[in-house]
Amino acid sequence: MRSSFLCLLLCLLASLFSCGKSASPYDDMVDSLNMRAYHYRYINVDSTLKNAFKAYGEAYGYAEGRAEALCNQAFAAYQRMDFDFMDTLIASARANSRRHLIHLCADVLEMKAAQRTGEGEHFFRVKSMAENRIRRISGRLERMTARDKALWVYALTEFHIITSTYYFYQEQDSMARAELALVPPCLKEHIDTAQWVYYNYMLGPGGLVEGRNDEDITLQEFDYLFRAYITSRRDSLRYFEANCLQAFATMFLSNDSLLRHERPDAYYLLRFQHGAENSGYLPLVFAERALQIFKEYEDLFQTACTYRTLGEICFHKGFYERSLKYYEKALHCVNRHHLRYYGDISPDTLSVFNPNDVERCVEREWIADPRISTVPEWIAGIRQQLSLTFSAMGMKQASDYNRNFYLDLVQATNQNLELESRTAELQRQTHALRSRMLLCLLLVVLALLMAGVFRYRLSRRSNSLLSQVRNNRWPEYDEYRQWSEAQLAQLNDQREETQDNLTMSQQRMEDDKRKNAENRAKVSLVHNIVPFLDRIGGEVLRMKQSGHVTHERREYVVELSEQIERYNELLTRWITMERGQLSLHITSFPLSKLFGIIAEGHYSFDQKGVELKVEPTQAVVKADESLTLFMINTLCDNARKFTPSGGRVSVSAIEGDDYVEVQVSDTGCGLSPEDVETLSHSKLYDASSIGSTGEGKGFGFGLMNCRGIIEKYKKTSAIFAQCDFGVRSTLGQGSTFFFRLPRVVRMLLIFLLSASSLSASSITDNYDSLYLSNVDGYYEQSLTYAQRVIDALNQEHRNQPPMLLNDTLNTHSEAAEMLWAKDGVKADYDLIVGLRNEVALAALALGDWGLYRYNNRACIRLHRFTHQDKELPNYFHRIEQAHRNSNILLAVIVLASLFILYFAYRLLVVSQMAKKREILQLKDYLSHLFQEARNGLLPQEFEQRTSSYPSLRQIAIRYQREVMDASVLPQSQCREAISDLQDEEARLQYEHNRLYVQNQILDNCLSTIKHESMYYPSRIRLLAEKMTDADIQQLSELVQYYHHIYTLLCQQADAQISQPGFRRQHIGLTEVLCMAQSAFTRLCRKQRIDVPLSVAEIPSELATSQVLTDAALLDLLLESLMRGMLHEGGNYQFAVEDDGIFVRLLLRDTTRQPSDEDLNELFFPDQGEISYLVAKQIVREHDTYYNHPGCRLVAQRSQPMGYEIYFTLLKHNKE
């Protein structure tokens, strides 16, 4: 800062002195001093500075010479990276000179500075100025002096080289290459050796050469570099010599043998020049030599770069500690630069790794501060290498620290995104201006044209419009008609679809209803046992009263217990027969869905003054959704019942390793340890004995059912091994009921997904899991996911070159996605950038440097490419143009509007306008009408203010009617129908769910009954068979206990069937006959029997009758009866008969003649015919839900031959 201030002072003084003098004879000396200063640029900056100062001092009245001297000083300042001072110098150089050439030199210097400090906007602003100047100067090259020509060559080459450098650092290789190609050929005539060397050096290490393969490129690059090196050594251009050496160091690191074989002369020359014995140390020797030269040359930037190169060499050789030291030194250089010029603004410096404050990014602060200039590329490079080194040393945190900063810097140096939008805005503005201008012009022309023909056309148009509207021939109407038809078709489709869904739901519902009816029949079978038990009880009671056993009673008890055993066997057979039919619907689903439903039911809790708290969860479980909801509901209801007002019930899910535990906690009265024991471990208990006295009502079956469900899961599959149900409770402090379900790991899901299809979702899912596994530290896993994403992406872009995870063969070649991006292929590039970044991270962690480099490069390049501001270069041209345009435009607009106004006033006759307006109004109204109809609204009246055309109103009414009849009404009807169907489906869904849960639970209850009570009848029988008077007490106790358990179990089952499953419907008798016929045909087909069924006519007195029933149950009833009766060779009749308030439905088999006894017992379990039991149960259900008991199910002989079974249903006469 101080030096810059001093210089400024000097400049001022100098300019003061120069005021009075005219052209001086010292001009030549000034020129020669300037030339010397220029000559020393890359040899010794101090000499340049010295000569430039001198030239400045001598050039009192020679403003151009002075400006040139200032430029040379600015160059020195640039090499020292004193950017602020440089700006001052350039500004005063510009102030001193009026020559474009000098300004161009200043521009080029400014561009250099902007490039280095990463100020893209500034760069392009200056570049656009420079381009203007180049255009101007190139027009008068002939008149130039030799010296000016030299300066011109310098400025021009420097301009192209620096632009190329800028593109190169922005990873836009092709642009950089194109820019270098623009370097004028005259350069090759060795007018300016330094620039020539610079040009060759640029082509050297940058990857700007195109070649057949990697080797070819390397060799070409080496040739350029070697040429630059030899020349720079000859002319002692030390700056370039060192740069070349540094480039050699990097090149030799990986291509030693290639160069030794292909370019032996150059190779050995270099080796002997630097006295390296061992070729392995060659890179190190080059780099150290370069370092030495840069230090002498006092170039901080290049010194730091060389340290970085040294670090890279050590890293390559595996000396991580040493390389870390070099990077530290490089960073130190950065700090030194910062402290030298900006230490007073921000004293903070960069450190290799600051574990105390990993979030703070000092370099970002620097970049954000407009007062500070630094070189982001510089720091970014060091940070990246540091991240690599730390990773190699196993210091993950430090590595991440540096990588994060690296990415931050890449982000920050990206061309300012804000500019992008500004440019786009500008472009829009220019575009708008231009189009407005065009419009104005058009208007002017139009207005002129209109003047002649307007009146004529106006009336013609009015008439044609009217005729269009009158004859239904205009585009909006056609469009509307098409829309309306399409809409109606779509609605109809939707209706059909809904109808189909409904039918499917109905089918499912019917299945479940059948199962339910069968289950109910089973329950009634269970109930059939009770009378026998009561009989045994009665007998035992009598024996107890009399005190002794009689033979008769003993025999009776034995018989009864045998009967019970038979019934039990039947039940077992029945249950086993259906095993596997009632399967659980296992799916994976998020618990949050069910928790949401539970939370919606808070009203009943609010009523009781209990707070319901449902904690959100992310858990995904594998289970039966309906049953899980049932379980949570049951537990919540229980908790609510036993929590006093003011208490709280909370529902939560806790994720374990392989399970999710759903907990329902309350702040109720709690349970004693004995109760907890009973609830957790015994399958069967007396609910009324649990919990506090008097409140035990209804408590228990719910929990038993929950337990049963969990047991069922366990039996179903080994996946459910971790299922559990239990309770934790302390008396007086509330209880927690919980159950466990298997947890679904997200990864598993994704795996399944990706295995099944390579869809777009699998890309994002895999990408997510890639990210997650990186976060969790499963890096190998990450690479697998990454490969999957890449595969999926390749699949999506089959016609494009495929992406690779790593390309070890062609490290210089472009990654495939870059080619896609350049070709304008549509893809999610942000995702690819992220993918490459994640892969780079994983590679970093795994220490796979090759993979890291490839992916990191691909990531950065793609990021830069997709975010580059392609418009920026043109930005400043446009600003100028826009200014000019807008001025002209203003004038044009004013003129044009005046013109139009004038003609409008003269020519638009009021009446003509009014006519047209009315027609347009009608048209507007009609458009509006169509629009409203599209929105499903009813049209409003057409208001006609004047009456030039009285028929307009009629047209409007006609259209209104048409819209109503053809579109609005049918559509709304259709919508209504759809909504009805949807409601119906929702109802079915609800009922189906309920039935399903009921069936599952009944299933459980029945199997519990089977298991728990199987053992007793045989015990009783054995005891009774050998009973003496002394055994009465024992038998009595056994019977009582059995009775108790049995009643309890029955109650559990009854609690389930108490919910109605019966849906009352009126069904016509014709339909009933059809049902019977189809059930019969179905059954015959199933059993492969071919027998006739004759269906009698409906008697006339029943012509208008219907029966009150549930169609699904009636169907099952008919089917069950037929199943019982059907046999090969039978002959069947079906008839309906009048029977008072009932209708009798009769099935007759005229071939068989069962005994009276068999007919009597047909509907008892003794016969072992399950279908008759189902039939009996269904008739019983009818009885229960009719509210008019009296249904019959009778089996009897029929005259003259065979037997018949009939049942009665309540009659309902149609009005």
Partner: protein, 240 residues
Amino acid sequence: MERFKVIIVEDVKLELKGTEQIFRTEIPEAEVIGTAQNEGEVWKLFRQAEPDLLLLDLGLGGSTTIGVEICRQVRTRYPQCHVLIFTGEILNERLWVEVLKAGADGIILKTGELLTRDDVMLVMKGRQLVFNQPILEKIVERFSNSVMSEALKRDAMINYDIDEYDERFLRHLALGYTKEMITQLRGMPFGTKSLEKRQNELVNRLFPEGERVGVNATRLVVRALQLHLIDIDNLEPDAE
């Protein structure tokens, strides 16, 4: 005791055996003149000889309520014959009522002591409403519940301090009267404002603190119904 004739209607053979045994061992006076397993057999037996007692099961074969019908017919066709229901229908209380209406002399549930000599003898002596212990227990339970709920109602009137106007107000609200309409009633000499005040007071009395927020007329009326302050079976407007 004189001998009397019995017909037993029972569809389950094994149960029939037990019942017959009870008659044989405990009621020797009874002469079982026939047993029937379905409705047809019943009428056949009746045509052969008219019994003094019909022991009737309610469900026969596939028809679970046929006993009611048989009972009704026997009472009309053979008024001298006693009918005693002997059934396992423990849960279906409605059937009990139906069969009593149809003229049964009593109901014996097939549980506990089953059929005893005492029960049969009482019926033979012409006693109505003969029940055995299990059914009596159920009846008494029902009875005490209903008595208790009546008592609750009277208590509620006093506990919630409900006067004649409160009752009338609530009753008419329940019938869908608006406050304006209620003010027109002869028995309600109040204005709308005063009725609103009354409603608020009622809310305060009938609802515990914390539940009073957002109580509208419907909720208030429902609460009154729950507390038996107004009788849902007897909801009539005042005669004007």
